[in-house]
């Protein structure tokens, strides 16, 4: 049974067809890379998978369960987590509070108006563990406004990891990072155990290619090429579409 399966997925914004009959089959533990030029519909595909957008047709299946009609807020509870290409964090709060919110999202405590958030020991413990994994535990109490861009990228990843997902969707986790930061994030992603299935959108080919086992190439919302790393890189259509010549 595949971890994540998408079949016949289509989406149009008015006259613009952004996703055309996309099929995707990701096996448990797989590392899948989705590439494609700007405007190929990569982020839209993520939004369709997470349910932030609803598809015009087609279906999304998570570990054999059809989740096409499941509201997006339920999907994290079923083991799906994502990061955003454009950093989407809570700017007025500390790093640990950001991660705590990720943990709270899956906890029944989130409805409780009568207890003190800061005293919930297991949320604090798990939050620090997640920050430990991305190397930010030493600045957990720092306000997010005083962190660097690279640190924020890692907070994004820590929030996703804190939810202990089965399927992790990473939307350009290397975007805007320096070479050193890129290497750190890369190592961090390599360290994620195999019980997490990962799908990544990435432009930065040198780090991304190393990460991926299979690659899907999108162009104008359509899957053009799909195969192992070597196959896709060697395919002339990849050169034509993605490398531009």
């Amino acid at each position: 049974m595949s971890a994540l399966s998408v079949s016949g997925l289509s989406k149009a914004f008015g006259g613009l067809q952004v996703t055309r009959n996309v099929d995707l089959d990701v096996q448990p533990g797989e590392r899948r890379l989705i590439i494609g030029p700007n405007g190929a519909g990569k982020t839209t595909l993520f939004n369709l998978i997470t349910g932030e957008l609803s598809p015009d047709s087609g279906s999304v299946t998570l570990f054999g369960e059809d989740i096409t009609r499941v509201p997006s807020r339920r999907r994290p509870h079923m083991g799906m987590a994502r990061t955003y290409q454009i950093i989407t964090l809570f700017p007025h709060d500390t790093i640990i509070h950001n991660v705590s919110l990720a943990l709270l999202g899956l906890s029944p405590l989130r409805w409780n108006p009568l207890i003190e958030m800061k005293r919930q020991a297991h949320i604090a413990t798990h939050g620090h563990e997640a920050l430990e994994r991305v190397g930010l535990a030493h600045i957990a109490e720092r306000p997010l406004s005083q962190t660097s861009y690279g640190e924020r990228r890692r907070v994004e990843i820590a929030m996703a990891l804190a939810q202990n997902p089965k399927v992790l969707l990473l939307d350009e986790p290397f975007a805007g990072l320096s070479i050193d930061e890129r290497r750190d994030v890369h190592e961090l992603l390599l360290a994620i155990p195999r019980d997490v299935t990962m799908v990544m959108i990435e432009h930065n080919m040198d780090v991304a290619l190393e990460f991926a086992e299979r690659i899907t190439l999108l162009h104008f919302g359509e899957v053009i090429v799909e195969g192992s790393r070597a196959e896709v890189v060697a395919d002339p259509r990849t050169r034509e579409v993605y490398l531009g010549h």
Binding site: T50, E52, S72, R73, R74, R75, P76, H77, R82, Y84, T88, L89, F90, P91, H92, H97, S100, L101, A102, L104, G105, L106, S107, L109, R110, W111, N112, P113, L114, I115, E116, M117, K118, Q120, H138, I139, E141, R142, P143, Q146, M159, Q163
Partner: protein, 325 residues
């Protein structure tokens, strides 16, 4: 931390002794007004400050609670039933408000709440058989909680103070709780909150209900205080006035609405005795606050205080608590 505890104790002591150091029934009554308007403003602050949902129709809810109390009493029933009806109808109206207006946020939310508030004002004004129209409803007497009379200004002040302290404690508890953190999360990043597994709509709905509860309580205290309710208390100006309290004092802060209520009520009832154009004065004060402390009096003063400590305190204490490794 002990400084903060000292501050709370001093503030509570000051509030408890108000009738002893403020002379004259009039000023004790003004203090009671400040307290129940502060409850009203705290209620609005829950959604406007912590939830980012600005309502311009809260006077409608306030009015429904006040009119319900008046109507039930006028019909010859007792105080417990009147208060219960006011709470139930206040919350039910809030639920209707929330279901209709939570379809949007931002300006859409403001406009729908404004429209609902105006509908309630129209009902109060025109549904004469129930509301008495422009003549309003007169009350006769106040309840006797636990057998104590709250007829005198001082006794009513203490009753209001007790309710006020309970309301403040409940808000303090709420904003530190997971649900409070979730509400502030939906204010700052609703899309992210949804993707993290939170039910954004339901969080906002329950915040509205809490807001509605405090508003209804304030409405009940108001009608028992004035012994009279008319459409004037329900109109748009009243909604705007309570929003002004929240913004002037500091939206999204615990003490901001209280300071805002104190400011507006004082200018309205005390300063208006000396200055005929008190509305202009209130406007000028508001403009000054917006220029000097756009975040509101409470956070603005805190900011200036920290600045002063850093500049003149000489202790070298950093203003921000970002612990360096």
């Amino acid at each position: 931390m002990s400084g903060r505890l000292f501050f709370y104790a001093a503030a509570l002591a000051a509030l408890l002794t108000v009738p002893y150091w403020i002379h004259g029934d009039y000023y004790v009554n003004v203090s009671s007004q400040i307290l129940f308007y502060a409850i009203f403003a705290m209620g609005l602050n829950i959604i406007a400050g912590y939830g980012g949902l600005v309502s311009l129709g809260h006077a409608g809810l306030f009015g429904i609670a006040a009119y319900s109390t008046g109507y039930v009493l006028q019909a010859g029933f007792g105080h417990p039933l009147a208060i219960l009806t006011a709470l139930v109808l206040g919350l039910a109206s809030m639920a209707v408000y929330a279901v209709l207006s939570l379809r949007t946020t931002g300006i859409g939310f403001i406009m729908i709440t404004l429209a609902l508030g105006e509908i309630i004002w129209g009902l109060c004004y025109r549904w004469i058989s129930i509301t008495g129209g422009d003549n309003g409803i007169n009350l006769h007497g106040r309840p006797h909680p636990f057998g104590l009379s709250v007829d005198s200004p001082t006794a009513f002040y203490y009753a209001t103070l007790a309710v006020f302290v309970a309301a403040l404690a409940s808000v303090a508890l709420f904003v530190r709780s997971p649900l409070g953190a979730a509400l502030m999360g939906t204010r700052d990043q609703p899309r992210r909150m949804n993707a993290l597994g939170f039910h954004v709509w339901a969080i906002r709905f329950w915040a509205c209900m809490f807001s509605g509860l405090l508003t209804a309580i304030a409405g009940i205290l108001f009608v028992y205080y004035t012994q009279f309710i008319s459409p004037q208390a329900v109109d748009l100006t009243s909604s705007a006035e309570v929003l002004l309290m929240v913004i002037a004092g500091g939206a999204g802060t615990l003490f901001g609405p209280i300071v805002g209520a104190a400011l507006v009520v004082t200018v309205k009832s005390v300063v208006s005795g000396f200055i005929e154009r008190w509305n202009m004065l209130l406007g000028a004060i508001f403009v000054t606050i917006v220029i000097l402390m756009p975040e509101g009096l409470v956070p603005g003063t805190a900011r200036l205080w920290r600045l002063g400590v850093r500049k003149f305190g000489g202790a070298g204490k950093p203003a921000v608590t970002g612990a360096e490794p």
